[in-house]
Amino acid sequence: MIENPWLHGLVLGLVVVAVVMGVAAFSIWYERKFAGLLQNRPGPTEVGPWGLGQLIADAIKLLQKEQIVPAAADRPLFLLAPLLVLTAALVPLAVIPWGPGLVGADLHVGVLFALAASSLMLFPVWMAGWASNNKYALLGGMRSVAQGISYEIPLLLSATVPIVLAQSFRLGDIVAAQEGLRWFALWPPGPGTLAFGLFMATALAEANRIPFDIPEAESELVAGVTVEYTGMNFGMFYLAEYLHTFIASALGAALFLGGWDMGPLGAGLHWMVLKTLVLFAGIFWVRWSLLRLRSDQLMELCWRWLVPGSLLLVMAAALWVHLT
């Protein structure tokens, strides 16, 4: 789009970051409304029509609240963690292709960059857990790390299936390989479909969403690593979680659902956004339908079933590519 690579990254960065942060803030309202629908209650209603002003009210509230640092905490680390967590959450957006050529940085290792950057979030989360000097926060941080590194392997291996099928790490090439509705989620029916399900499930675990939200587990850990954070410091973690979920949906749409391409219905930004939002809403649906797993059940599920399963899926995809 823009010739100068610096300027290209800067302009697209500003636009994408602004829009996605807006979507993430809006999705908090949407999720509360959606949860209300599922649980037969109205959700937010007071501020503005349909409670739409709620997100503005929440933003103002977060901005003007005092940022308390506990006396026992490690002050520099405690204040650094929220900054890093939001930065790490925003970075994977750089490689997500929104349309043909419409990508912040068209890296030839796009998939790896997105997955590596999104797992960087574990460092600030553990930093926050440790620096808070609070037992709940420490336990939440440890659970996050154990869960994050465990589910990283099935996540990476399930994302390898589209890499094998498209023979490229570049997200744009992977989308291009699915042109004409030959989505990897549908075709080949075996490895592609299963890898899509596995990718979305492990992405839920990476983003600490229900049924994998034991690092936060309100009933045991109060709020996990965010227990000592107030005001905007807390808001950063909250926003980062929504961004992480949104990015997982966008990656799922690009890797498995054909991204911006919609076969005979044309191609464009709107299809990519629509597919991302459908997956995003699906994640909300899961959240309000399922229960939380226990910590050891979660690890056992990952290591006993998902890791060998995802390895076999990669092998099956390679056989498919070789034989066809």
Partner: protein
């Protein structure tokens, strides 16, 4: 070097500046107490008085999982370049990778049978 890396660097800079701006903005706009009451900056333990520090020794129950993680993480390093070129490499590469995966899964089965993944 691929010029896309420069775009990526610019993008990361934007992300960091936006995150910092949100925090600094909240610093400027937020209220700030002149004196901190001792109870306010106390560690939160659901209203109980905090019992000792959180920086204590703990049992590394999941160290076996950490070992397995390193193992499988290294394995993905080998799988990824193979996955990128599997179409052009032919049948030998497929057989070789299947053998490699079989050895790995054997080790995984050993770890599972030994109860490495059980919470004791």
């Amino acid at each position: 070097m691929d010029p896309a890396w420069l775009s990526a660097a610019a993008f990361v800079a934007v992300a960091a500046v936006v995150a910092a701006a949100a925090l600094v903005g909240a610093r400027v706009l937020g209220v700030k107490a002149r004196v901190d009451a001792p109870l306010k900056t106390d560690t939160y333990e659901c209203g109980e008085e905090p019992d000792g520090a959180a920086w204590v020794r703990f049992h590394p129950r999941y160290y076996v999982v950490a070992l397995l993680f390193v193992l499988f993480d290294v394995e993905t390093v080998f799988i990824l370049p193979w996955a990128l070129n599997v179409e052009g490499l032919g049948g030998t590469a497929i057989v070789a990778m299947f053998a490699f995966a079989a050895i790995l899964l054997l080790g995984w089965a050993y770890a599972v049978r030994k109860g490495a993944l059980r919470w004791q």
